[in-house]
Structures are given as structure tokens and as C-alpha cells.
Symmetry: C2
Subunit: 210 residues, 2 copies
DNA sequence: ATTATATGTTACCGAACGGTAACATTTACC
DNA sequence: GGTAAATGTTACCGTTCGGTAACATATAAT
């Protein structure tokens, strides 16, 4: 992790750069390049340059490139956790509505996604070493995520919650893959449609044929 | 591509190695390492060694590492195309049965899959450069695959073939992702179950609630 | 045996990379 | 202004990597 080293005052020591503090700038720049060029395809020097700083400063904030990667991943996951808190607060006692809202937000993100799929998915594929800190973090996050869905499916009254949860997971993960060959708009809409039908089915309202 | 260079007779010039000719050995070894350690995580020297040969020989058969990667990918895809021919021959005029058989075979492969997801998916994530030969090949294959599914869904009589095809694609692609966090046996079984229900739905036989 | 071909061996090149040391410079606070 | 901390600059180290040249050896066909 490595916190509280510099920026002794809270003031900015930026000249013409971004308004963000150095550490954040590095993380943003790193994430940008990681996502666009692949983690192994970008060097620390390029990251530092993109962050409008230099390699030495980068290494004063991060112990290694691997740790920088891990921190970037942690940031993404933290952001996702925030969104789950939002969803939970907004749909207390309404797991079906929550699942629908979730699918809609996912679809919106799919539409905003460029050429290059899911950041976490790509990172996971790029880091085969099971001991890589970033990989472990992603793995834990995936498990948490799946447990969350499963809990929701139970609460939503699905007849077979495990099957429903796995279907949800497959849909969302699969959507991120298919975006690259089917087109994001269509996939996003279909995702929402399918989740709506699932939810309707769980209520025993409509037959919901395909 | 680069064909017909060596092995002038058809005889083997192998001493104690595998029974395969050099080129195949290199491709097999490369695929093995690519899949286990990631494409960018393995060097040509290690590939040559694993193939029981050396770097020079490798470069006599492949113009570059990138071309070796592309050839490996082409091999995987060719293998998948073969399987589609099998499926088509086995289920002439029975698209529903074909889809079910396809899901069963996919499930079987999921069960046999180790820690590290889909080879094509990982390769795609590892090669962000849109001009990389391997990436282009994968992209084309994905488009072909999706067209194929769509055609099958039309033939199977789905009310909304486009939606059904996208659902199929999402399920299969998503299954390959979820294997790593849910467990392959469960995901495989669920995939088959879900496809069975879809097919039943398309026949207007059962309501198939979730 | 000779000859053409395929493979092995060694050594090397240039570039890129992750990471560090030493020192200079700027910034903020007193 | 002085001082301590944060940042910038430059140069460097060791390693790895993709790729090649030159030469030696093994193999097969004639």
C-alpha cells in the first residue's frame, strides 16, 4: 500500500499540470495506459511522462511496477464497491429492482466502453502469476461479487438461486466479452431485456418466452 | 504463413524427442507456454527449449514471434472450425439439437480447463495492438462465430433470433470467465441446463421458469 | 563418398525495461 | 531568509528480450 509519504501540506505543488496530486496523476495515467496498451506493454517511464512527472517520483510513491498495478486495480474495485453501496441504499428490500438497476448501469458502462473490454478482465488475463498482488485482489473481488449476486438471487425469490446467480454472472461477464464483436449498444439493450425477463420470471408473473 | 521449408523427406530426423516434426513441436510448446505463462511472459528461447530445439531453428520456421503467435491462434481456430463441421454433419436439419450438443461439448471443455481461462480470450486481452496479426485473426473468428450462432437461432425458430444469439454468446463467453471464480463443474452443468431451457422455450413446449 | 539440406551451437547486437544513486532544484512553511 | 521536504534531472546498472550471423554437425538421397 504505502501511504503518507509526501505532500506535507495539503497544497498543490503543480505548475501547469493537472489539478490532481502527483500520486493520483500517476494512478490515472497508469490506468489509462494499462487499459489502452496492456499492462505489460507499457513501461514505467511512459507512465511517469504521461503523468507529467518522472520515474524517480513514481518510485517514491510505489515500491514497484507490480505494486502500482495492484493499486490501480484496488482503485477500480473500490469504485465498484462504492456503486454497490449506492445500489443497496437505493433499493432497500427490493432485490429485484436492484438487479434491474444493476443491469441498466452495466449496460450504460458497456455503451461507454471503447474498443478494449473490461479492465479487470484484461488485467487478469495479463497476469498469470497466481502470486501477483493484483491478480489476488481481482480474484477476491470476483468471489465477493459472486456471493453478492447469489445473496440477491436468494432474496429475490428465485426458485434455483444458484442457477440464477450463475446466469447473472455469465450474462454480465459475457456481455463484456461480446461487446467487441457484436457491438455495445445491442449487447447493452439485450442484457437489460434479459435481466428484466429473469426478474419477471422470478415473480411468477409472465411466462417470458425467448 | 511460411510453409514448405524443411523436412525434405517425410522421415523424422528426431533422436529422442517427440514423434512430431519440429514445426509442430514448436507450435505445441509455444501454445503450452503461452497459455500457462501468458504470451508476453514467455520468450522465444524458452519456447525453443521446451520444443527440444533451439532459437535458430524456430526462426527458420517462423518469421517472428508475432507470426508464431498468429500461427498458434490459427491452429486453435482451425480446430474449432473442425468441430463445427462435426456438429453440422451430426445434426443436419436439427438446429436445436445442434445447439444442445454444442453446449454439452462446451461444458465438457470447461470441466477440462485448468486455472487459466480461454486461450483465445487471454490472447485477445494480451494483444491490444489492433494491427497484430493474431488479434485480427481472433476478431474475424469471433464475428464468424456470432454469425453462425445467429443463423442457428433463426433456423431453430426463436421468436427473437438476434436476442437469442446474443444470449448464447454471452452465456458461452461468460462461462469461460466465471469458471475461474465459481468452479467449472457447476458452470458447465448450468450452461447445459440453461441452453436446454432456451431450446425448450423456442419450441413453445414448456414455460421454463427460472 | 558426395552433396544438398536441416538442424545445432555459439556468440553477439541493439533496444527496452525495471530499478537505483547522487545531486540539483523547487516549493511550502516558520 | 532560512530550512526541510518534495520533486526534477541525469546517468547509470543489470537483465531480458527479439532477432541475426557464422560456422559446425548431422541426416538423407544419389
Amino acid at each position: 500500500m504505502q501511504t503518507d509519504i509526501p505532500n506535507r501540506g495539503t497544497k498543490n505543488r503543480n505548475k501547469g499540470r493537472s489539478t490532481l496530486p502527483v500520486r493520483e496523476r500517476i494512478l490515472v495515467a497508469a490506468g489509462d495506459l494499462f487499459h489502452k496498451q496492456g499492462i505489460r506493454g507499457v513501461g514505467v517511464e511512459a507512465i511517469a511522462e504521461a503523468a507529467q512527472t518522472n520515474k524517480m517520483t513514481l518510485y517514491r510513491y510505489f515500491d514497484s511496477k507490480d505494486e502500482l498495478i495492484a493499486e490501480w486495480v484496488r482503485g477500480i474495485i473500490a469504485h465498484k464497491e462504492e456503486e454497490w453501496k449506492d445500489l443497496n441504499a437505493k433499493h432497500r428490500g427490493d432485490p429485484r429492482g436492484l438487479l434491474q438497476d444493476w443491469s441498466q448501469r452495466t449496460a450504460a458502462k458497456l455503451r461507454a466502453m471503447e474498443e478494449r473490454g473490461s479492465a479487470l478482465g484484461n488485467a487478469f488475463a495479463e497476469l498469470p502469476d497466481p502470486n501477483h498482488p493484483a491478480r489476488r485482489v481481482i480474484q477476491e473481488h470476483r468471489l465477493r461479487e459472486h456471493k453478492r449476486i447469489l445473496r440477491l438471487c436468494k432474496a429475490a425469490g428465485f426458485q434455483d438461486p444458484s442457477l440464477a446467480a450463475n446466469l447473472f454472472s455469465m450474462l454480465v461477464e459475457g456481455a463484456h466479452s461480446c461487446v467487441q464483436c457484436v457491438g455495445m449498444r445491442q449487447i447493452g439493450e439485450d442484457l437489460v431485456t434479459l435481466v428484466d425477463r429473469m426478474v419477471a420470471n422470478s415473480r411468477n408473473e409472465a411466462p417470458a418466452r425467448l
